[in-house]
């Protein structure tokens, strides 16, 4: 995928040097990123990183202290609200309202005509297996059902840009799968989706690009491949060889025994140890394997598969948090 600079007409969202201060505390500090129209964009960060504050600024619920935010081509979110669907992390429904009524109400608040909102509410409930609960009061719904109703209320007005803050929380694995499918369907229909999550597997499966923030600052923006490319290549190695023997290979940047196990002091015949080997920039894993064999190291396991988003997240966000 070609690098994306966010400029031009295909930016659904663009933040430029956005700062948000509460008193003397900078919750968001000089944040800039762009979201391309039609992509699924992962908005990742540890707790307290400034995700919710950023999302609130994007939605114009609170204003930035400095910087600019452009949404769907407009310099202000307010006139674009009808084109945006927002599912906050902490969400709820009016207890006494009925399920279909809730969906239609929020759709109407976001500009859908009354009849259309009502029709969509019933359609969506049917589509997501809640048709028989259309007239049930929200207080009578299970937590999972209520979550679905909240999500349906977010999309009922057919928004172009969807912002989902922790949409998977509270859903069982089956409903998480259903939600993943829905997000893919929405993307296929041309919607732009931004979602934040702590479950990296969801993000890895769904997102085209990511933003990782920590302590209000951007740590990374781009695709998973770009994230991987930006990090040293790591190899999982099991060998009875000593750490020093591995480190002696030219392409190795660093060697660490996994889980704090003691590094082997002696060579052949010793119990194999698991190592985490970081290669130097541009080093090729195949060449490293050949070098190991050439050096006479007995290899019991060699895993050069790519790092997961979880590892990338921990590395990038963890560095800032540390």
């Amino acid at each position: 995928m070609a690098p994306y600079d966010g400029s031009g007409m295909d930016a659904a969202l663009e933040l430029t040097d956005v700062v948000k201060e509460f008193g003397g505390f900078k919750a968001v500090n000089g944040l800039s990123f762009s979201v391309r129209k039609g992509e699924i964009f992962g908005f990742l960060g540890p707790n307290g990183a400034g995700k919710t504050t950023t999302l609130r600024m994007i939605l114009d619920i609170i204003g930035p202290t400095r910087g600019s935010i452009s949404v769907l081509g407009a310099p202000s979110t307010r006139p674009q609200r009808a084109r945006i669907g927002y599912l906050p992390e902490e969400r709820g429904l009016y207890r006494k309202m009925r399920a279909a009524e809730s969906i239609a109400y929020f759709a109407r608040l976001r500009g859908a005509p009354a009849a259309e909102a009502k029709r969509r509410a019933h359609e969506l409930l049917e589509e997501f297996g809640l048709g028989e609960f259309a007239r049930a009061r929200n207080e009578a719904l299970s937590k999972g059902m209520a979550q679905k109703v909240q999500l349906l209320a977010t999309i009922a007005h057919d928004p172009e840009l969807l912002i989902l803050d922790e949409p998977f929380s509270g859903l069982d694995p089956i409903n998480q799968g259903t939600l993943e499918d829905l997000i893919r369907t929405l993307k296929a229909s041309g919607k732009t989706i931004i979602f934040s999550t702590h479950v990296m597997e969801h993000a890895e499966r769904l997102c085209d690009r990511f933003l990782i923030i920590a302590k209000g600052r951007k740590r990374f923006e781009g695709t998973l491949e770009e994230a991987r490319a930006g990090l040293p290549r790591r190899i999982a190695l099991r060998t009875p060889a000593a750490a020093a023997d591995i480190a002696a290979i030219a392409s190795v940047a660093g060697v660490e025994p996994v889980g704090g196990a003691p590094a082997n002091a002696a060579s052949p015949g010793h119990t194999p140890t698991d190592y985490q080997v970081d290669l130097k920039e541009d080093a090729d894993p195949d060449a490293f394997l050949s070098a190991c064999l050439a050096a006479g190291l007995a290899i019991r396991r060699f895993d050069a598969s790519s790092e997961s988003l979880h590892d990338i997240f921990v590395k990038l966000a963890g560095e800032e948090a540390a």
């Binding site: 619920i61 609200r81 927002y86 906050p88 969400r91 009016y94 207890r95 929020f106 976001r110 909240q150």
Partner: protein, 511 residues
Amino acid sequence: MGSTLLIAWREYKQYVFSRGFLLFLVMTPVLFLGAVLVMSVVDKARPQRTFVVVDQAGGYTELIDAGLAKQHLREALQAWNAYLEGVVDPAKAAIEDLPAPFGAGVITNERLEAVAANGGVAAAREAIGPFLKDGAPPFSAPRPRFRRLEAPAAALASADAEAAAAALEPYLLGETALPGAGEALFAAVIVPEGFGDEPATEDEAPRQAAFWSKNVTDPTLQIAVSRALRSALRRRAAAEMGLVGADLDRLSDIDAPLTAFTPGEADAEAAEIDDADRLEKVILPGVMTYVLLVVVFAVGNPLLTNTIEERSNKIVEVLLSSVTADQLMTGKLIGIAAVGLTMPAIFLVGGFLASAFGATESDALRETMAALVRSNLLFVYFFYFLAAYVMFAMIFLAIGALSNSLQDAQTFMGPLMMIVFAPMPFAVMVFQNPNGLAASILTWIPIYTPYAVMLRIASDPPIGEILGATALMLVFAALVARVMGRVFRNNILNNAPPKVTQIWRLTKQQS
């Protein structure tokens, strides 16, 4: 429909179409009618009080009997007057043309004597029968409230009042049963020897009759006995002056006609203060002030609880992603104000319809509706309701935005309620003297202005004072709306309720 009106409609619908509101609409007239019915039943089921008289002076037992019989006849004639109003067929006779002394009229001693002499209630029923509407219910006279029993022999044989009281004590305490007295004798009257006589010396106190009863809450028998004894003593004194009993009755029947007028009206008839004037100038403003107070706080409460629900259920963030805090606040204000106007409007419309289509024969309802139309009270109510509502509703909204639970809200509601109800003791002073100092002071305090003006408005208060105080109130209401609006906007998304010191900052902070 704009977002603000959509929010208003949801708020309105939530309360007006709720079971609680419908129940309120049904229950209010039911409770009112129920209260009337219960009072009537309770009146009819009131126990007959039994008592004995130990008359050591002699002659007073019969006088007490006669006094109580006269009182009973007076009560019967009062009921008779009310009965005639509803049952006499005007095609057969006007009430004032009914055969004397049984027609409706003022109850004087002379009339009491005449009714008694002509056969009492039974004769009245028979005499009026031909003039009643077809199917009119029969008159049911109230039963006598008191019944005298013969005193126990031991008490009658007592040498003095103290001994008589001692002899009666077991009967009064229910330890000894007196035939016909039920569980316990209600009361005993002891008239000592020499009662009513002039003391022999100046130092000697006049002899006093004694009224003994275990019941200290129902004074009706004591009052009736006291009245009978007083009447007996007056008659005795009158006789010594050369008058007879009938002379005394005639004297007490003399009435001094006095008509109240109010200045500034076109003619004497218009200036005369009648029941309709009292209704318009006293009763309705009083009732409407009470309704204003109740309704403002009745509708403020859902505003508070609903805001707390939106905060605690985390609905507010979704709302604020769709509308601005100002739109949310305004929508809520409009919706709940409409609820507050719906309550009295339903009863008003019901009242107008009932009186217009003759669904009721109640003159009181017709006159009330006419007074409301004739006066400016409805307009005044509407205006000051909105003013009071804006002030208090904004405070409720801000409290809702500061609270995660009703318990949090109680911290603020307690002091607020104390301030709101602080002038209640002075309300009577304003009611009795609508243009007095207390009334003026309360009128100039903005949070009390709506109630004070509502209470005073029909009593021609100084127009300058009302306009000035109203202008001050409007400025204050705008200030409250501005400051409380800031609190609402600044804290509605904060999870934790702020500390007291932080609230001051919230009132100043621009969002």
